[in-house]
Structure formats: C-alpha cells, structure tokens
C-alpha cells in the first residue's frame, strides 16, 4: 500500500489546486478589465518586476509538478498493472475498490466529502451574498473548498491505511 499512488492522489490534486490558486491571485492582481461606454470591454494584463518574477517561478513550478506527477503515475502503473491510474475515466483515481473492504472505506470517505459539501456550499453561498467579496477571492474560496474535499478524503483513507 506504501507505493500506491491512489492513496496520495488527493495530495497531488491539492497541490494542483494550490498552483492554480497562485495563478488566480497573480492574474487577479495583474489584470484589469476596462469596460467601455459602447458596451465592449478590454482586458489589460500588466506585469511589474516582482509579479514577472513570480510568474516565471510559477511556470517552473507547473512544469516541475507536471513532470513529477506524470512520472509517478507511470511508476505506479508499472508497479500496479491491475490498479492503473488512467486519465481517460470519469471515476476519481483515488477510489480504492480492490475488494469489499476497500469499497467500504471509499464509501465512508466519499460520505464525509458529501457531508462536507452539503454544509460548505450553502455557507459559502451565504458568505458571498452577504459580503462584498471580489471575483478573485471568490475563486480562491471555491478552490479552497475543492482542496478541502481532497484533504477530507485523504485523511479518511490515510487513517484506514495506517491502521492496516
């Protein structure tokens, strides 16, 4: 189980979300949307010295992330041909359905995620309605919510794995 990437997959997803979050913040602060009186709008993207460096750093992080991510998938698929991680399926890769115990654990973790969304989404909608939050931070909120689901899923599975 130690080398099973299906277990750490939610962490990879979270890392991906945080990278996207970095871009959202960077673009959010570097971009300006101008609306014109004739109804059109323009999108202006200005990068100063510091944000230019940040953008380059982030691009390097993206490349490194993708290399590591696909390398680990390749290694996992070689090690576990029966439980390959495939990018061509709708089913989340982190589902463990090797047998009925694993199906049960997956069910428990999924149940926790569902409960989390059942509460988090209406609370978030309420906060967005009540407070004057900008688009950038709204998007960051959505991304944090998505990262939260992976964290809950990962913790549940990890708890089970460490007790095995």
């Amino acid at each position: 189980m130690k080398n099973d990437m299906r277990i750490t997959y939610p962490l990879w997803q979270m890392a991906g979300i945080f990278i996207i979050m970095g871009f959202v913040l960077l673009v959010g602060y570097a971009a300006t949307v101008n609306t014109f009186s004739d109804g059109g709008f323009g999108f202006e993207f200005s990068i100063s010295g510091n944000s230019g460096i940040l953008l380059n750093v982030m691009l390097v992080i993206v490349v490194l992330y993708l290399i590591l991510f696909f390398y680990n998938i390749k290694k996992h698929n070689e090690r576990m041909p029966k439980h390959k991680i495939s990018m061509t399926t709708y089913k989340p890769q982190e589902y463990l359905e090797d047998d009925e115990l694993f199906q049960d654990v997956t069910k428990q973790a999924t149940k926790k995620v569902y409960t989390y969304f059942a509460w988090a989404l209406p609370i978030m909608a309420g906060v967005y309605l009540m407070l004057p939050i900008g688009k950038v931070w709204m998007t960051v909120g959505v991304l944090l919510l998505a990262a939260g689901q992976y964290w809950i899923y990962y913790r549940t599975i990890k708890k089970f794995i460490s007790s095995v």
Partner: protein
Amino acid sequence: MLKNRLKELRARYSFTQIELAKQVGVTRQTIGFIEKGEFSPSVTLSLKLAKALNCDINEIFWLEGEEEHEE
C-alpha cells in the same frame, strides 16, 4: 456486532492471511480487518470463507450476545 473466530480457524489449516485472502479473492487487509472485528463481510464473502475453511458459516461468525447460546 458480528464476532468471529476466523484467526483460530485459519490457524487450523496453517493459512497465512495472504493465502486465505487469495483463496477467497480479497486483499490481506480485508482478512485482517475481519479478524479484528472491524469489518463485517458480506454474505457472499462469509460463504467463501466458510468454504475455504471447510466449516459451517456459524462456526466462523456469530452475533455478540449469542456467544453463550452458541457455546
């Protein structure tokens, strides 16, 4: 709660958890969790275990509180 004596019966045949798991088509973890009483197997798996251990299903599993009745 479902109680069991899977570990005891497994020892009768000197099966390791992995060997028994292979026989019934599950993972070693599943056998371990059943033995610890932390996972209740389905009827199908219970029947497979009974067959692999060559015994009656009631010899492996019983409900808590019915121990005295069984013994």
